[in-house]
Subunit: 356 residues, 2 copies
């Protein structure tokens, strides 16, 4: 039932739904539109300035206006922009957001990082007032948070459950999808709320697992950072392609918030990033102001600033080891969809021989 | 191929293989034998004293000797004891272990927490020398660790991949099963080594997910702590049954090693436990020696020592929210097997409608 609702909200998609996360600042209109055109759903993040986000949405509109669209997508385009828009709401202006959403009518708006759950309700109400066809997606990391959000915002939302393997910002303390999803599905079974799964899904097997754990669709971030349409800097992409064994080579930390000036990020969150020299220095007890200075020096030379010995920040999930090639967003979406089906067929084939 | 090898090693099992972990000190012969009799594989931990472990193995032998066994299990009993034995090898005597293994010939010995990977190879060689029908299982938490172990120990082992959601001791930094398993399956594809998945699996959906991510069988710990055959103290079981939202209500920590006298546990490990007053005190900056004293005081009254306000230690995984009832080990094994098949059938049914 929840999956049918998702398909009603996003009628052009091909199941299983594959979503590209609003990774700030690298997921721009090129990536988001390509994911939607591959019958998934792409998100762009709100940038630092509304004027910048506006030009992203304008560029996305132009791409859809000039593309040959399947009918279901063309129909949506008459009333909505078929990409999503992501906000880390603790630091953003609802007024500016409403203005932009009212003008572009994105099919979805993904809210994250509220200072308090009441802010999600306030934003959701204002967004629906400005654009009734927009669905509000809210990112949560625990069952308690999900239930609180549903109580405040009602049933006409989509919930994105982010597990502890996710790259970038998420709850400091959370579970992996293997327990988070089934518990979420049970806790929300009385509601008709689609559940999206994020955190550690890089390809078909992870997608198949998340779907069998109770998700209606899946979100990938790290995998899409290595899409040819992503604005991810070259050195960062290289780290993803060569990185392995993400449990060992990434770390959840507040360090990068502290040295990059985002220390006002609500305190229950931190971010998972590839381990680099700054984290090694922190482990070695080197004072944070020295690390901050090194980081700022590195900014002057982005070409050499990434990597294990580098200082620039590469937020990425534990799934890096499963990302080994740059591919187009379309290839990634189609391959993940096919991979999920293949994984489901394989396990079904195995299970057909079991006597239970 | 790896699954066929597992079935050859454990010919009485019913697929998918369900294993009870050697949870120290609560998993004793009653639990392990019940899991094996339900066509899974049960493990007992080596206790603090070999004399204690010996009496557990003697008791297990008696149970099998007096039970009406299916033929495959009866055949195994002629040369091996069809339960496994678990060692945290950093602190144990190989000499005593070899004596015990040589006498009882457990079908599997699970090694964990070596000070260095070479110790696994040393133990494995000695164990096989003492009991050629015993298979050595080695618990790992990263791909690098797995590859190092295979290089040292060869292919005639079983690898248990433990994800970050697991309760009890595990790597301080590791990934959840959603990324760990597929990367492990790829990295080991050239070997014929069965992969077991542990960490966050509490019921059928998690089992189905782990199997579709690449595992040949699954291990549960926390779920079996609430088996009627487990020696888990009442207050601890209550915590598991009432606990929810494990990402929020459990924590990976070294605190309990420090206050319980296991601070010599190799430094790359910590343990996931239910958050109680000791962890809250640590968050509040209360000195560890005060917390240690409170813990020691609580030991005098185990009946009231567990719980959120308590001091006694409840090692448990993030899957606690999915464990709501005490059941017999047989019920748990059978229900998990049925649940896995059901989850696979459901996702297969959904996927049959996808056009890919």
């Amino acid at each position: 039932m929840t999956t049918s609702k998702l398909i009603r909200l996003l009628p052009w998609i091909q199941e299983p739904l594959i979503v590209s996360a609003p990774m700030r600042p690298f997921a721009a209109h090129e990536l988001a539109t390509a994911v939607t055109l591959a019958k998934g759903l792409g998100f762009v993040p709100n940038g630092n300035q509304t004027v910048h986000t506006r030009s992203e949405l304008e560029a996305a509109s132009k791409i859809f206006d000039s593309a040959a669209l399947p009918q279901a997508l063309g129909d949506v385009l008459k009333h909505s922009l078929p990409i999503g828009l992501g906000y880390q709401i603790y630091q953003e202006s609802l007024e500016e957001a409403v203005e932009l959403i009212s003008e572009f009518k994105p099919i979805a708006v993904w809210l994250f990082a509220a200072r308090q759950n009441e802010d999600y309700a306030r934003w959701a109400e204002a967004i629906l007032g400005a654009s009734p066809n927009t669905t509000v997606w809210i990112q949560v990391g625990t069952i308690a948070e999900a239930l609180a959000v549903v109580k405040l915002c009602g049933e006409e939302i989509v919930l994105v459950f982010q597990g502890s393997d996710a790259g970038g910002h998420g709850l400091q303390h959370s579970a992996g999808l293997i327990t988070l999803l089934p518990e979420a599905a049970d806790a929300l079974s009385q509601y008709n709320i689609p559940i999206l799964a994020a955190g550690g899904i890089s390809e078909g097997r992870g997608a198949a697992a998340a779907l069998s754990l109770g998700a209606d669709g899946i979100v990938m971030g790290t995998r899409f950072l290595a899409a040819s349409e992503s604005k991810t800097p070259k050195g960062f992409v290289e780290q993803i392609l060569h990185g392995k064994d993400g449990g060992r080579t990434t770390r959840r930390t507040r360090l990068f918030d502290n040295i990059r000036g985002t220390s006002d990020f609500p305190s229950e969150y931190n971010g998972r990033a590839l381990i680099n020299q700054s984290i090694i220095d922190e482990d070695d007890g080197i004072p944070e102001d020295e690390t901050k200075q090194e980081y700022e020096d590195a900014l002057r030379d982005p070409a050499t600033g990434y990597g294990q010995k580098g200082r620039l920040v590469s937020y990425a999930g534990t799934g890096i080891g499963l990302v080994t090639e740059i591919k187009s967003a379309r290839e990634i979406v189609e391959e993940t969809r096919r991979g999920a089906v293949h994984a489901i067929e394989s396990i079904q084939h195995r299970a057909s021989r079991w006597r239970v």
